[in-house]
């Protein structure tokens, strides 16, 4: 933890800023905020779409992708000729990804978490590693902004290792905006960890509030300063605002429900293109984020 913090401070000195956009509940407007914020900030900006299960930022940015790599995770490959069926590999594996049945060793690569335990423990050195495809990473640019996204292979269960690979594309300087997946479990943690600031996007409904409270707990566990955006702000009830007041969470922006905004979104148009007056609002939002990130975890 201490090394991590020192590294973060050093990075902040160089003017690096990582903002993660998360929500708890899906469909609240994360991608809208991530893309429009990225386009409104001046200077060196990069957008990482870490919602690798359902990446959407490219549908609005419409970048020309010029780089595509397939990402693999190591899984065991057993050399039957060297294997003496001792069962040590099956014993160390916590994920039931390798078993010895009678005279054969079976590796279930879909269940493997790539810890390397079986390979390390094998007394006969009968296990080497091959790769299981996690998905692809594509890199491109649009409107002067670099967009990198991961796309989880259909049928692949594990998103976090692909998310970590997308995050390796983080540039050493400038602003990096991360579009995180919904929820509060491991893929979300992988998308928020190490960020300088988390923007939580919610809607003022009971579902929005319930999932926001979970997301706030997650951000607090990680100890990252955060603020709130309320989307379709005039649609539901006062629950989210009351909660924000009680918890002393800054509401940094409110986006009203507006059929024009919803229709532009449905077509894949960016908000700041459909309604250019929003650009100033996103710029002001960024300035507030910078101040709050500098202040650190001021939120209780």
């Amino acid at each position: 933890m201490t090394i991590c913090c020192a590294r973060e401070r050093k990075r902040r000195h160089r003017g690096k800023m990582i903002i993660s956009i998360a929500s708890g509940k899906g469909g609240t407007g994360k991608t809208t905020v991530a893309t429009n914020l990225a386009l409104s900030i001046e200077g060196n900006v990069q957008l990482l779409d870490c919602d690798v299960e359902e990446p959407n930022a490219h549908l609005f940015m419409k970048p020309a992708f010029d780089e595509k790599v397939t990402v693999y995770t190591p899984v065991p490959l057993v050399d039957e000729a060297k294997c003496n069926r001792c069962g040590a590999c099956a014993e160390i594996c916590q994920f039931k990804a390798i078993v010895v049945i009678a005279e054969t060793v079976l590796a279930f690569e879909q269940l493997c978490h790539s810890c390397g335990g079986c390979m390390a423990v094998c007394p006969e050195k009968a296990i080497t590693e091959t790769g299981r495809e996690l998905g692809i990473i594509e890199k491109g640019s649009a409107y002067g902004i670099e967009l990198v996204h991961g796309k989880l292979r259909i049928g692949e269960a594990m998103a976090p290792p692909l998310i970590r690979k997308v995050r390796e594309y983080t540039k050493p300087s400038g602003v990096t905006i991360i579009d995180a997946p919904p929820g509060t479990s491991c893929p979300v943690v992988a998308s928020m960890k190490g960020a300088d600031f988390v923007l939580l996007v919610t809607e003022p409904t009971p579902f929005g509030l319930h999932d926001l409270m979970l997301a706030v707990e997650a951000v607090r566990i990680l100890g990252i300063p955060f603020g709130l955006i309320i989307n379709r702000a005039d649609m539901g009830n006062q629950g989210v605002k009351e909660y924000a007041r009680q918890e002393k969470i800054d509401v940094l922006m409110e986006i009203p429900f507006d059929r024009h905004i919803a229709e532009a979104y449905s077509r894949g148009d960016l908000l700041i293109h459909a309604m250019p007056q929003w650009k100033d609002a996103f710029r002001a939002l960024y300035e507030r984020i910078r101040k709050l990130a500098k202040k650190g975890v001021g939120n209780p």
Binding site: M1, T2, I3, G24, K25, G26, G27, T28, T31, V52, E53, E54, N56, L59, F60, I92, Q94, F95, H113, S114, C115, G116, G117, A120, L152, I154, G155, E156, A157, M158, A159, P181, P182, G183, T184, S185, C186, P187, V188, V189, K193, T205, P206, F207, H210, D211, L214, E217, A218, I221, L222, M235, G236, N237, A262, E263, Y265, S266, R267, G268
Partner: protein, 290 residues
């Protein structure tokens, strides 16, 4: 016994509002909330919990400082960068693989099993319900999803009900895979937006990958008729039945605020009428499969 799982790919398309309404329309069903990461069905069904059980996900490594010689073996072997220079395990990074535990030369690492959530058997005004809560920032959501589905099946057997309605999570990863395997059918709820279509196509591929028959319902159908037509075209090409078109209707939000299903809140609203039609089409498809 049949199980229909409601999924969407994209979040926020209306899965849970529809599941709640279906729960009221179904005569004898067991309800199952498989969105254990951010479950919301209980906010409408207001369950009375009759049994709560801890969920034990996996193990986590804990270094016993007094025994540790700081030899570095664990740090070298951990592939998840979970052990700090001062030999502390970051529980958020620890994958629970046990490699450090096995190779520690002085046996200084404990490996306790962690409680990382809870699951509940409940009573609701719509029938029995199985739901769960995964701890914040926890792993093993797939394992918990499999558990709640298994429990829902057992409860359906015990209470002599032949249908399970399952509210699924968004996405296409681990919890979704755990939600749809072995289901009788999935209903994909989408919306006429570029993101809705993109995400629906991915989750339809996932259902196909696991050979689960899929049906599609278009929510907020009239938000963009052009995009809705694209969804219909895609479904036609892929041989997927479109079982309903629900208009954009603020009644869904109002019903949610009043802890009611859309059918309870305003049975004559356009949203409620269209929801009933989707349910009838689902039931029909369900009978047709028998």
């Amino acid at each position: 016994m049949k199980e229909i799982v409601i999924i969407s790919g994209k979040g926020g398309t209306g899965k849970t509002s529809l599941v709640a309404a279906f729960a009221g329309l179904a005569k004898r069903a067991v309800l199952c909330d498989a969105d254990v990461d951010a479950s919301d069905l209980h906010l409408i069904l207001v369950p009375e919990i009759i049994k709560r059980t801890d969920f034990q996900g996996g193990h986590k490594a804990v270094i016993m400082k007094d025994l540790c010689t700081q030899c570095g073996t664990c740090r070298d072997m951990c592939r998840f960068s979970a052990i700090s220079e001062s030999y502390e395990v970051d529980p958020l990074q620890c994958e629970g693989c046990g490699v450090c535990v096995h190779f520690c030369p002085v046996k200084a690492i404990e490996f306790p099993i962690m409680t990382c959530g809870e699951w509940y058997e409940s009573r609701t005004r719509m029938g029995p319900m199985i739901h769960a809560r995964l701890g914040i920032a926890e792993e093993n959501s797939g394992k918990l999803v499999s558990l709640v589905r298994k429990e829902a099946k057992e409860l359906a057997g015990k209470t002599n009900r032949d249908l399970i309605i399952t509210d699924g999570p968004p996405g296409v990863g681990c919890p979704v895979i755990a939600s749809i395997g072995g289901a009788s059918a999935v209903l994909v709820v989408t919306e006429p937006t570029v993101a809705g279509i993109h995400d629906m196509q991915r989750v339809v591929s996932l259902a196909d990958h696991f050979r689960v028959p899929a049906m599609v319902a278009i929510n907020k159908h009239d938000l963009n008729l052009q995009q809705s037509a694209k969804i219909e075209d895609f479904c036609k090409e892929s041989g997927l039945p479109v079982v309903g078109r629900i208009p954009f209707d603020p009644v869904f939000t109002m019903a949610m605020i009043h802890e009611k299903t859309v059918v309870e809140y305003d049975p004559d609203s356009l949203g409620a009428l269209a929801t009933k039609e989707v349910w009838e089409a689902l039931e029909h498809a369900h009978e047709g499969n028998e």
